[in-house]
């Protein structure tokens, strides 16, 4: 147990809903199970087109989604519409759909591909095979959205010294989280005001450390 205790404020007990997109049935089963075991509601579809239909973004106006989607996780390489094309379609929306975090999965560790996805607005890029620690990090992105001031609030973890962090210790969105944190808790006395990404000083037992983020690992190893 860490010396800084973590208090979980469960503002709303609602589960997060993840839309998983992968043309491989094996991978769909695995990602579905990984998400369910991490207390997420999951809808798994086999193509980008079906994903757009489920979100209600498909031009044909066929299906209206019943559940709000909090995160889209998609394979990159798919026949028909690639995960990258799906990402672009979602981010090009003028509605609130654009705000949905999109995570790309790929069995290929290709830096230009990763960069392209991040530039297009992907929240993260996971190199397959996907593990439980990857999914734990994803839950942090859904927390981030709430700290940004969405109407539905979910779990916010507060350290005793007033730092607000998501379920992950670090990730590429840490800077944004820290900025929101100081807004949300401006009355708290001791917020570590360092703007750099150093939340790993008090890692939670469930959060991976810096090197676990493939983005960081790849950026450090970009001579490979």
């Amino acid at each position: 147990m860490e010396t800084n205790g973590v208090v979980s404020i469960d503002v709303d007990a609602e589960e997060v809903h993840v839309l998983a997109v992968d043309d491989s049935l094996v991978d769909r089963k695995v990602i579905e199970r990984l998400l369910k075991i991490s207390a997420c509601k999951v809808t798994a579809v086999d193509s980008g087109i079906r994903a757009l239909q489920f979100l209600g973004l498909d031009e044909s106006d066929g299906f209206v989604p019943g559940l709000k989607v909090d995160l889209v996780i998609t394979d990159y390489c798919m026949p028909g519409m690639t995960g990258y094309e799906l990402l672009k379609k979602i981010k090009q929306e003028s509605s609130s759909f654009r705000e949905i975090p999109v995570v790309i999965m790929s069995s290929e560790n290709i830096l230009p591909r990763i960069d392209r996805c991040l530039e297009e607005g992907a929240e993260d890029f996971i190199v397959k095979p996907v593990k439980l620690s990857d999914v734990k990090r994803l839950k942090g992105y859904m927390t981030t959205r709430d700290v940004r001031g969405e109407t539905e609030n979910r779990e916010i973890n507060v350290n005793f010294n007033g730092n607000v962090e998501g379920n992950n210790g670090v990730g590429i969105n840490n800077k944004r989280k820290l900025e929101e944190a100081s807004d949300e808790f401006s009355s708290e006395p001791s917020i570590s005001s360092s703007p750099s990404v150093s939340l790993s000083s008090s890692p939670m037992s469930s959060s991976p450390d810096v090197l676990d983020s493939p983005i960081r690992r790849l950026k450090m190893a970009d001579t490979e």
Binding site: S24, L25, V26, D27, K29, I37, P79, S107, K128, P129
Partner: protein
Amino acid sequence: MNRLLSFLFHQGVLDEQFLQLQQLQDETSPNFVSEVVNIYFHQSEKLLRNLRSLLMERELMDYKKMGIDLNQLMGSSSSIGAKRVTNVCVAFRVATEQNNRAGCFRALEMLEHEYCYLKNKLHELFQIEQQRALAAGVRYPVQNE
């Protein structure tokens, strides 16, 4: 971990992703591993058949299509932790990128061999687990269903 599983790890047949799958199995999903593995077998055999028929083409071989099938096989193999099969897929893919017909044949032979070995060993593993579960039931017969 039983001896067979330990052996398969040492041989590099399976890697830690297989352990990850086992961690996802619990009372709410007690057959998760065998379910996923059976889907994998079903999918893989189709892909292997495709690859063989693509390689049997007398004239122009569709290396690109082979590459697509290989990507799928590679992806699902790595998702279940089938390390050796995944590695052979990688080598096979290199051969397709080089339009190396002979290399492709050799790679397919090796792939079929590794896949068969994996399938046999996983079947054995599931049998051992089933027997264990049965044995446990016999030893403690007091449970009322």
